[in-house]
Structures are given as C-alpha cells and as structure tokens.
Amino acid sequence: METLKEKARILDSDGIRRALTRIAHEIIERNKGTDNLVLIGIRRRGVPLARRLAEKIKEIEGSLVPVGVLDITLYRDDLSTLAHQPVVRQTEVNFPVKGKKVVLVDDVLYTGRTIRAALDAIMDLGRPYNIQLAALIDRGHRELPIRADYVGKNVPTSRRELVEVRLEETDGKDEVVIQEKT
C-alpha cells in the first residue's frame, strides 16, 4: 500500500491570492475587457477558483462575469480502466456558451487529459468564440498538445510526486503542497 508524504509547501494563502489577482488582470488584458467573457470551473477545485477569479474581475472592472460548473466525468478517457466508476455530478452552465470567450479554470494542469475532456464537454454545450485555459499550478508532464493561457505558478515535478491544491471552500484552508509516494 502506497502512502503519501508531504514534501513541500509551494504556495500559501497569500501566494494563491496574488497568483489569482495576476491571472485576473491577464484575463482582462488579453480579452480587452469582459465583453462576452464567461468562466467555467472544472469540478472539483476549478469551481471555487473560477468564482474567486470572477470576484477579482468584478473588483478590477466592476462587471459581473458568469461562472459555470463543469463535471467532466462522462467525458473521461480512462473510465474503462477504473475498477469503480467515479460519481457523476451535475454540470451547471446556466448560460449559452455559443459565441462566448470561455475561460476554463482548473487547479492543476498535468497530463492535459482532463482539459481534453472539458473541451469536448464544452463543445457539446455549444460553439464558443474561443476557449482559454487558466490553471493555478502547471506541473508539466503533458500527454496531449495542450497548454495553459494563464498559469499561477509553474512547478517542475517528478511523476512520483502529487500536487495537492487545498482551498478554503473545499478543504478549510488555502495552500498548495507537493506530496511524494513512498
């Protein structure tokens, strides 16, 4: 049985806040404002991150950006290799994505497979103008030609390591740690 050992804390609460503030600015700058802009968080921790980004954007620009929730379980490419299926939860995108500039938000960008699934899931909801990607952590090891448009922090890791993002909303505190399989 593998156990996990905590190795290092790479972001604390302030670090996460600063990273998100910067990403919010970058999103506004790249999109020249917030017209037609929507944020969609990927379950589970992409959702609170998307909500925080929307909050920051509102502080900066004074405009409300719609936030949606995406569950990508039904789009995963590894279902047939899992012994037990993951629990499917609801996708809540209560606005049309057609013609929108969609910023996908997730906590960790790793192999790129989750993002591939999320791209398919969004396409099934409608045809957006474009899709951009924001990730709090990019830990490398991509298995698909996918890159993030906005990154909170690049963290070189080994495959034996695990990056865990903890958020106030889901875990009771804000931090990002690296764990190692022993």
């Binding site: 049985m1 039904l74 279902l79 012994a83 037990h84 499917v88 939860r89 609801q90 899931a121």
Partner: protein, 312 residues
C-alpha cells in the same frame, strides 16, 4: 460505490445503492435537456435490448439512454410464444456473449429469467421487467420523480392501487420506497393482493377511502382486462367503481399529492381522464425521468472497467 454486475431487482439493493443510482440520474437528466443530447461515456460499448414482451416505453427509454451515452445498441425482439419453443434463453445468452455484448437489458414474461441470464454471461444484465417479479428501473424513476418534487422519500405515505398480485412495478416500488423510509400501503380487491405482504412491512387495504387518507404519493396500476376473464373480479365497471381514482377520492390525499401511473393508462377505469391530465399527475415527467434513470444504470453498470482493485 456500485459494485454489482447486474441489476435484477431492488429487493437486494441497499438504501445507499439506491441513493447512488438516483444521485447519478440527476446529472443525466441535465444532459437530456441539452440541445446536443449526447456524451461519449459508453463509446464502443454494446448494449443489447432483449425483449420477449412488447414494450414501447421501456424499450424506447433504454434505447435512448444507451444512445445518449454513445453506446451501440441493438434490439432483439422475440414473441413470448417462442420462449417455450425456439432457442432456450441460456443458448441465446451464450450467443450474445459470443457477440461481445457488454450489457443485456432483458424483458421477459417469466419471473427469474434475468437471474438465469445473469448467471450465464459475464455481461451486465439489467432486468427490464420479469413476469410478476420486479421492474427495478420503473421503481427507480418513480423514486426519482418523487424525490424531485418532495426532496426526500423518507416519511412519505405511498399508496399503490390495483392488481398487486401480477404487478412487478408494485413489487419494485414496495422495495424501493420502503428501503428509503416511506410507508407503503397497497389497496385492491383480496383476489388481486398476494399473500405475505405484511411480512415485508406493507399495510394492506381493500377500500380506497381508507387507503388514500393523507397520501403523499398515489401509484395507480394498470388493470388488465384478462384478469376479469380469469375470474379475479366481476367486471371492469365494478372495479372502476371500487378502485378507480376520481376527484372525491383524490381529495382524501394530501393537497400536494403526486399521482403516478407506470402506463399505459386505462382512462375511465383505474383513473379518470381529468386526474390523469390534471395538476397532481406527474405521469409524463415519469417518462422523461425514465431515460435519466436508465442512463444512470447503464453508466454505473457499464461505465467502469474490469473489477480489479483501484489503487488511485
């Protein structure tokens, strides 16, 4: 987690397993409301609808559920007369296995046929109604519909009216609702009530006026005309008079009562047309929810891989 190979009935499921099935049906229902009603989840999986009895709604519902999940599905229909002659169910099962079916959905006029099939093939078997035994997906959609309206099943008073003796829907509903904490009553003439229901914690009534008092849910069962020919009740007229759901009787139930029917209905016999089309009836919602529930079933039974231990 859902660790079963098959879904043969609700009797053997735990409350937690039933809850998981219902929870999974919630996101499935969202998919049905999209303009593009399709997800790639079961791509490359083969679902066989093996129907030895006619059924427009159940078969159509399972077929749509499979298609919305991107599974390949085929329909094999066989008249019930060929069950006794032709190829045996066991041999049919082996054939389907050789064709690499991942899921077999079986509707059969004889109780226990899905058990036989499940024992004969490694594919997942879903009971889509077997004789007078169970019809678990119908009960799941009933539970789902009630839960959507009332939030919780526990504490509700559910009254099932009609031919309990021959009804697989009644049996599955009895297990499903009691396991989730509802009080279940059945009501019908003694000739259509099977023995031993009290042993399952069910209250038996013969008069609608007593059974319907403060009901939260009323499930009306279809009465088959052939039961009258078998001498189980004197006439449809008398049956309708004693067990038909009309305005006066509906008034005995709670104001927010839900009226359900597994269909197809005999309007004017077990239910009056104004109630069937009225504000308390959720009969059409039941049909929509049936697809969501069946998608959940297909996902939980066929979405995963081989049963090896998952080490994260």
């Amino acid at each position: 987690m859902f660790k079963r190979k098959d879904l043969l009935g609700l009797k053997d499921l735990t409350a937690a397993e039933i809850e998981l099935l219902l929870d999974t049906a919630v996101p499935m229902k969202e998919i049905i409301t999209r303009p593009i009603k399709k997800v790639p989840t079961l791509r490359g999986r083969t679902v066989v609808n093996l129907f030895y009895e006619n059924s427009t709604r159940t078969r159509g519902s399972f077929e749509l559920a499979a298609k919305y999940l991107s599974a390949d599905s085929i329909n094999i229909s066989s008249s019930s007369s060929s069950v006794a002659k032709g190829e045996s169910l066991y041999d049919t099962a082996r054939t389907l296995q050789a064709l690499r079916a991942d899921v077999i959905i079986l509707r059969h006029p004889m109780a226990g046929a899905p058990h036989l099939l499940a024992g004969a093939v490694p594919a997942a078997v879903i009971n889509a109604g077997d004789g007078a035994h169970e019809h678990p997906s119908q009960a799941l959609l009933d539970l789902f519909t009630v839960r959507e309206h009332r939030g919780e099943i526990s504490g509700l008073r559910v009254v099932i009216v009609g031919d309990i003796l021959h009804s697989r829907v009644a049996r599955s509903d009895i297990w499903g609702f009691t396991k989730l904490g509802a009080e279940v009553r059945v009501c019908g003439p003694p000739t259509l009530i099977p023995p031993g229901l009290e042993q399952a914690g069910i209250k038996v009534f013969h008069r609608m006026e007593e059974a319907l008092v403060d009901a939260d849910v009323i499930i009306m069962l279809r009465i088959q005309k052939e039961r009258q020919q078998q001498g189980l009740f004197p006439s449809l007229r008398e049956y309708a008079r004693m067990y038909g759901l009309n305005r006066e009787r509906l008034a005995l139930a709670r104001k927010d009562v839900l009226v359900m029917h597994p269909g197809p209905m005999n309007r004017g016999v077990e239910i009056t047309a104004d109630i069937a089309g009225g504000p308390r009836a959720v009969i059409e919602e039941q049909v929509t929810n049936g697809v969501a529930v069946r998608m959940a079933l297909l996902y939980l039974l066929a979405g995963g891989g081989a049963g090896h231990e998952n080490d994260h």
